[in-house]
Every structure is written in structure tokens, then in C-alpha cells.
Amino acid sequence: MSRIFSFLTATRGKGRLHWTDWVSYGYLLFGVLLMFGPVVWLVLSSFKTPNELDRFPPRFLPYAQDVAEVEGFEEPLLLFTVTEGDLAGQIVAQTRRAAGRAEVVLPDDPENRIRMPAANLEAIEGIAFATENYTSLFERFNFLRFFWNSTFITVMATLIMLLVNSMAAFALSKYQFRGRTAVLLMVVGTLMIPQTVVLVPLFLITFELGMLNSLWGVIIPGAATPTGVFLLRQYMITIPDEILDAARMDKASEWKIFWRIIIPLSAPAIAVLAILAIMWRWNDFLWPLIVLTRSENFTLQLALNSFQGELQTDWPSLLAMTVLTLLPIAAVFMFLQKYIATGIASTGGK
């Protein structure tokens, strides 16, 4: 026990690496494999042809059989190497295959059809990224529709939330008025009411407002968040009151002060909240599942979930769609990683 902890707590071994450093790096590299591995596997799999996806055991990289255009044939033909017989070692193109026998031609001599047992042929394969999985999403599914729904909900909900929450935070940080403590307590109170425990009445209210099966039914109920109010208020408190007073001297209206001074000065906090909101809304699942029941209103998350539930799971399309769903979040992560970490650590929410 003591040894385990000596490696966990020791700091740098002087000069060369201590054995505990090796164990630490081992753990971290295993972590890289465990955390990134599955995502890498998903992305690689999404570029495999249906045949390749059915293959067991699977291969790491996506392979596809080489094909060649041969004169006199409309479709490109699959290429094979002959393993036995007169033509052993030659590359041939297959024109037909039935009952264990294949009809092939030499690519240079397309007129001369040769028959041989299919067992004598070995497929020529190369690494190839099959993009059909992706293109078929646009042809066979309403992918753009789902993408649009998700984007619309995310953008609108984020904008509304930022405006509403920053207005409230402004009032709570820069005004002295009776009832301020009561309002603050009320905001704390909403922390204790997660959406998951009021689903039924929330459903009724959304229904009464005529927002069932509408994207607004997803956007509006979550537009005000206690987390957002607290985060922004905490930041706005640090803005000196003198700036506001100076603006009032210049006869700026309160709204102008809010919009022209407070908002730009709170930009870092607003950026953090915006990233969190984008993440929450893009990944949101339970409430959209309840509100949006018609498939033309589905968000990407709902579409993914409903396709995987179908009897015959169409993995090629599903994998491609999963990749496209995580892509925007992955992009946000790459560019704004630092903000996300601070945002999540300071609000305790995700």
C-alpha cells in the first residue's frame, strides 16, 4: 500500500525517471488508448464499406477491393490475382461469378473470357476510405433536416439564454432594490428543480402553450438557467460602478449601459456560458424526446437514437451519422478547450 502511494504522491525523481514516473506514464498512455481509442475506431469504421463492416474479425483500417474500368463493360470490375493454373500470378478482372465459378478477363484483352474456380482468385485490396456512408445520409435520410433542427435549437436557445440570463444578472449585480435577496433565493431555488423531476407538468405547460412538436418547445423551457445567472452575476459584480455612473452622467439610458458597456465587459463570462449552452443544447436528449415526436422535427440525437432502435441496424449509415453528430462538438473542443475547462470547473455544471 505504502509503495503504491509513494508513486502516486512523489514528485520528480531527480535527473532520470523514477520507476514511479514510468508507471504514471503507463497509466496515462493507457488512458489515451481507452479515451481516444473508441472514438478513433468509430471514425475509421464509418469509412468502411458494408462488406468490410460485416467482416469478423475486423481490420483496423478501412480496406476496399480494387476495381478497374475495362473496355466493353459499363461498371468497373473487381480485380483479383490468380493463385493457381496457367494464369497464376496474373491480375484479372471478374465479369461474373456464380456457383463457385468465376468468369474473368485480362484487363488488356477484354474480349477473351476465361472461366475458372472462384477459389483460385485472391482479391486485390487497398486502403480506401468509403465516403458512400456519408453521401447516402443525404440521399436516403432526411439528414439535412435533422442537422438544421439541431442547429436551429442550439443557436436560438443559446442566444435567448444569453440575453435573458445576462439581463437578470445585470439587475442582480448592479441595482439596489427591495426584494433582491428574495430573487436571489428564488434563483437558488430553481437549482433544486431539475427538469427530470417535473417532466409531466412541464409537458402540460408546453402543450398548453402550443409548443408541442415544435422546436420552440425545446428552446423556451430551458432558456433561463440558474447556472447562467450565477456565473454572469459573479462576473458583473467585478465591473466597477464608476463606469456606470460616468455613462449615466452622459445621459446614457440604462438599456444602453447594459448593451454597450456591461455586455462587452462581460465578454469572457458570456463566452464561457455560450460554450456551455451550445454543449447542453446540442447534446440534449430527454426533453426533446418528449416534445418532438414527429420524425421531421427530430434533432440529430433523436434521429440517431431512433435509427439504432430499428430492427435491422443500418450500421454503415449510423456510424457516419454518429461521426457527423460529434464533429461540431469536437471542433468546439479543439479551439476552445481552455474556456470549456474553466467554465465547467467554475460552474460545476455540464
Binding site: 500500500m1 504514471s24 488512458g31 469478423f56 439581463m167 428564488m186 428543480i193 405547460i205 430551458g222
Partner: protein, 322 residues
């Protein structure tokens, strides 16, 4: 985007200016608060009140006026058991299965998650190269949507998936994981820890980094063993953060739904059906829609979460004061 927003803001200024003249500056605060308070009222406080009406009324009608008052009958139905330890003896056996599944799940998930997060945070807090990279690697899955997490692991664990290929290769042999109740549950705990541990690692790492270096230097001067240093310095000084992490993980754990629903659908059977899924299925997925039972069950979850949240607020306050 700005070209739409800017004129909009100038447009809002007109009524706001009128209100400012009418109310005076300090009462204008209420105008700024109004949209937020209306949303809170409509979508948080009103639902809490309405939830009591649903929980004490029957039928599958969503309109409150058409729902007959049934008193505590929904609660009686939920609580009707010969033995609470055995869901088979309960009238609403699915509810009790969900309760027990959730209890087990939360215990295991929170235990493993806090354990691994602590281990990872301690290692990341050492003097290692590329710390930023490793930290973001562990954090990355936190951003993935629950459905994406579920699909990634479903693809890996499916019968002809890469996990079984690997096990075949090692000679252990593959298995049809998600049709076996116990394995489905185990993997549910696993993917949930996988997806969320980065978040808690981040908080714990921040807690570790807040411990002053000179305390450790003093310990080294006194020739304290690393184990002793860990027990006597790191753990006590980290305990406020640990408490935050624990309560936060419990609050999230009780509400687990998305990723497991997309991963197993609650199955096989009811092996991975948790309490929120029970509420969802009674109220929204099944026919007839038993809003009363769903609301009654929600109320019970709400009480558990209320207690946890009060503990959370108390912990936060204590940490802020201390």
C-alpha cells in the same frame, strides 16, 4: 449575426427608455429581471406545484380539469409491496426494479468514478510532461453527447465487434454482452464512468493544485513517508473538494437516463431500467399514459435530489467560508 442583433437591441431601447422614465432607475431592475423570472416561474415553479396535482389524480388525461382526484392512491400503488427488497412481490414491480437498479448503479458508478478520478487527478498533478494534453484526453468524452457515447460502445461491444475480436484473439473468447443482464449492467456502469470521469478529474485536479506547495516541502523536511504525506496532508486538504465531487456525482447519478437508454434501452428485460426511464415510460412512452404514477415517482426522486442539493449548497457555503 451581429447585423441582426444590433438593430434589435436598438429597437428594444425605445420601450426600455420609456419604462425607465416611468419607473425610475431602481425599479427598472424588475424589468430586466422579468423575462428570466417569467421563465423560471412558468417552467420551474409552476411545474413543481402542478406535479402535486398530477401525483394525486388518476386517469390518462393530461388536462388537469379532466383528472379525478384519487388522494394518495398513486403512492399506495407504488408502495404496495410485501417486501421492498424483492420487486417481484410489489404491485408496481417495475418501479421497484428501477429503484433498486438505480441504487446499485449510483453506488457503483459514483464509487468507481470518484476513485478513478482521484487516481487520475493525482497522477496528472505530478510533475509530468504534456500535462495539458493528457488532461484534455481524459476530459474529451465529457463533451460527447450521451447518444454518441452509447453508439460508440454499442458498436465496440456488438457480437461481431472489436471487443469480441480481441477476446477471441487472446483466447478468452467473445461474448454477446448486451443480452446478458449482468454484463449489460456492468457495461452501463463502465460507459457512464468512461463518459463522465473527466469532469470530476478536472475538479479534483483544481483542488489538488490549490494545496500550497510549502506544506509538502515541510513534510519532506520532516522525512514523512509518501504514504503518510498522502494520508495526513493530501486527503484532509482535498476533502472539501472530494465532498463537492461526491455530492455532484450523486445528484447526476440518480438522474442517469440518456446514455443508458440509448445503450441498452433499459434491457435486457429491466436489467438497466433506472428511475428516470421508469418515469419517462409510464408518462410518455407507454399506453395508457399513466401521468399520475409518473408524477408520484417524480416527487419521490425530487425529495432525494432536494436533500442532496441542500447538502451541496451547505458544502459549497462551508468551503467558501473555510
Amino acid at each position: 449575426m451581429l447585423s441582426i442583433i444590433s438593430p434589435l437591441m436598438r429597437l428594444i431601447e425605445i420601450p426600455m427608455l420609456a419604462l425607465q422614465r416611468l419607473l425610475g432607475i431602481n425599479r427598472l431592475a424588475w424589468v430586466f429581471l422579468l423575462p428570466n423570472l417569467v421563465l423560471f416561474g412558468l417552467f420551474a415553479f409552476l411545474p413543481v406545484i402542478l406535479n402535486f396535482f398530477y401525483a394525486t389524480s388518476g386517469s390518462d388525461n393530461v388536462m388537469l380539469a379532466d383528472r379525478p382526484y384519487v388522494g394518495a392512491r398513486n403512492f399506495v400503488t407504488l408502495m404496495d409491496c410485501s417486501s421492498y427488497l424483492d420487486p417481484n412481490t410489489c404491485r408496481e414491480d417495475k418501479f421497484w426494479r428501477a429503484v433498486w437498479n438505480t441504487s446499485w448503479f449510483v453506488t457503483l458508478q459514483v464509487g468507481f468514478m470518484v476513485g478513478f478520478s482521484l487516481l487520475t487527478a493525482i497522477i496528472l498533478n505530478r510533475d509530468i510532461r504534456a500535462r495539458g494534453f493528457f488532461r484534455s484526453v481524459f476530459f474529451f468524452p465529457v463533451l460527447l453527447s450521451p447518444v454518441v457515447v452509447a453508439l460508440i460502445w454499442k458498436w465496440i461491444l456488438q457480437r461481431e465487434g472489436v471487443m469480441n475480436a480481441f477476446l477471441d484473439w487472446t483466447g478468452i473468447g467473445g461474448y454477446n454482452w448486451l443480452v446478458d443482464a449482468q454484463w449489460a449492467f456492468t457495461w452501463s456502469v463502465f460507459i457512464s464512468v468512461w463518459a463522465h470521469m473527466g469532469f470530476y478529474t478536472l475538479i479534483l485536479l483544481a483542488g489538488l493544485q490549490a494545496i500550497p506547495r510549502d506544506v509538502y516541502e515541510a513534510a519532506t523536511m520532516d522525512r514523512a513517508s509518501p504514504w503518510r504525506t498522502f494520508r495526513r496532508i493530501t486527503l484532509p486538504l482535498l476533502s472539501p473538494t472530494m465532498l463537492v465531487v461526491l455530492v455532484l456525482a450523486l445528484i447526476k447519478g440518480v438522474q442517469t437516463f440518456d446514455e443508458i437508454y440509448a445503450f441498452t434501452g433499459g434491457g435486457p428485460g429491466t436489467a438497466t431500467t433506472f428511475i428516470i426511464q421508469y418515469i419517462y415510460e409510464e408518462g410518455f412512452a407507454g399506453a395508457p399514459r399513466l401521468f399520475g404514477l409518473a408524477a408520484a415517482a417524480s416527487l419521490m426522486v425530487a425529495i432525494v435530489l432536494l436533500i442532496l442539493t441542500l447538502i451541496q449548497l451547505w458544502v459549497n457555503r462551508r468551503n467558501a467560508d473555510g
